[in-house]
Symmetry: C2
DNA sequence: TTGAAAGCGATACCAT
DNA sequence: ATGGTATCGCTTTCAA
């Protein structure tokens, strides 16, 4: 790699001090440096195609202008979309985004956080993995700015931006009840994460308000790590039991993707045999024969807010925490009839 | 942010020099430092929870251990999947990935490259945008290591990893011919990018070998920036003309996504009314009523090879260039019958 | 208006 | 075996 041009090179060529060059190049016109000298330096800098070394700047300033984004899996459309929004928003503040996927595993998440802290990121945007509470607390203790997205921990006070998961599934379940479904199944992840708990709670609350009590047998929980192995059995339990459900609410779009495949394989028709509502849209559903009713999360707002809050927190470390909860909307289609 | 622990802090607490601390912490046991002192330093370092400042290391070593990934759009599943593979592979070498989306625009691509160069990335993995040839040449001239993926420029000698686009569409078109289709349409992007040209060439070659000459009216080109505005008209021109095609080859999965929606809207059935082959798989096709024949790109190989080659190039700047072309496979399903 | 020099944190050469 | 010190590129204080 050809050696890079530094302030020193410019200073030598111009026959001035490094300091003067620095002044001109960073402060612009009102640098205190004389106009002719100023011009000369600018000219040489551009001739030499000078590019400031961001690393050196960072070492000196203590700011890297980079943020670490940790999600479950960057290849998951939900997170890929958020990543794009975060990228664009971060660029507005001149921040760079470095990313990592935790695969919902605390150990990977922990490694990533350490890795990124060593690289001196100025802050984090994190969709925290199961059992990562301690890591988040550690971040807090070290006063490293961060914003949680998608999920958060109600027991600790942090910045977060998420949707109102409880209301979202509450409304969705109500919709299914209104459509005349009495037995409604829920397929969720087997997780203590707050967003998942809230989705389950919203479902239960709606059932209760309808005067029933939520049945354990209608709530199926699937392990993150063995989705494909468990989903068929859980779907079967819901729709093939003695008292089968007439509707299913899927707590994420990945669950729905595989769940619907099973429903199709069983030759059951949506919505005639089973009504369906899905949490989150996905391109995959574009071609489903029955247009799906789904809960639409405010991705753009989540992403932009997260960046705004993080950057603000980085600039003003004593700012009070921001906890943003944004409503999702229920997009009604045929599948919930 | 609580001030970070530095070598100096450890040195002070241990009553030794910074140099000794550095030796112990970087060289391990055979550091030349006495065993007792060694232990003492290690103990204090871990007590203080010392984390080396990667920025300082980078400044000193001239290596940032980060690579810039520039794709068209990180939220596009194709690139999101590649990003994940690159992330995992980079981690094996202790590299961090920072990413940016060019939206297929040369201007954005150029900004990103500059931005990342300033941040001292050690190298790039780039899916080059239209008209970005000059930027790539500039990278070359500056001796900055990079590997192109997905597309490359045949007129310049660079590292690249791509699939054999020509063979892929050649075989796909042949398949459609074998299935008895005489008029075959191609929907591609209106782009000079090599991968797109090769996909078009492969199609033409297959038609020629079948003893026909490719008709201009059967080849439809769509602008990147106005896909949704143009696709319906192009599909219509293919299937509703006086001499309609009986099969369509889509040059990317995004084109197919919208093209198939149009075909459905026209009440045409796949494959009875129109046979279809798609370049690349996508979750979106999982639910298409007719299982689609598609060209499966070797994503994993492309991603891992790109990282391997880049890291090798960073370590050995004089190494000769690697140009890797990996076959895609045609996954045959109902839609091409 | 200009510049010398300290310092950011870590490494490595060269003394002792 | 241990440590002083120059160095990476840049910013900023202080002095001239």
């Amino acid at each position: 790699m050809a050696k890079k041009v530094s302030l020193k090179d410019i200073a030598q060529k111009a026959g001035v001090s490094i300091a003067s060059v620095s002044y001109v190049l960073t402060k612009g016109n009102n640098s205190g440096v004389g106009p002719e000298l100023s011009e000369k330096i600018k000219k040489i800098a551009s001739e030499l195609n000078y590019r400031p070394n961001q690393i050196a700047k960072s070492l000196q300033s203590g700011k890297s202008y980079s943020i670490g984004l940790i999600v479950a899996d960057i290849s998951n459309p939900f997170f890929a979309n958020i990543a794009r929004i975060i990228e664009d928003q971060a660029k507005k503040y001149n921040y760079t985004v470095i990313f990592g996927s935790s695969d919902e595993m605390a150990s990977k998440s922990s490694d990533l956080i350490t890795f990124f802290v060593n690289r001196q990121v100025d802050g984090f945007i994190i969709a925290p993995a199961e059992d990562s509470l301690e890591q988040i607390k550690a971040l807090q203790k070290q006063n490293i700015p961060f914003v949680l997205i998608d999920r958060y921990f109600p027991e600790i006070d942090t910045n977060y931006v998420a949707t109102d998961n409880f209301m979202a599934t509450f409304k969705a379940t109500n919709k299914l009840i209104e459509s005349g479904n009495s037995e409604i199944g829920l397929i969720a992840y087997n997780s203590e994460l707050y967003h998942m708990q809230e989705r389950i709670n919203g479902y239960c609350k709606a059932i209760e308000e309808a005067g029933c009590s939520p049945k354990k047998s209608n709530i199926k929980k699937i392990d993150f790590s063995s989705l494909k192995e468990q989903i068929n059995k859980k779907v079967d339990e819901l729709v093939l039991s003695d008292n089968p459900v007439s509707a299913i609410l899927f707590a994420t779009n990945t669950l729905a993707l595989y769940g619907l495949k099973r429903i199709d394989a069983l030759k059951l028709k949506v919505p005639d045999d089973v009504s369906v509502i899905v949490f989150d849209a996905a391109e995959a559903f574009d071609f489903y024969y029955c247009p799906l009713t789904y809960i639409k999360q405010p991705l753009f707002e989540i992403g932009t807010n997260a960046v705004d809050i993080l950057v603000d927190q980085i600039d003003k470390p004593n700012k009070k925490l921001s906890q943003v909860c944004i409503k999702s909307t229920l997009v009604e289609n045929e599948s919930s009839k």
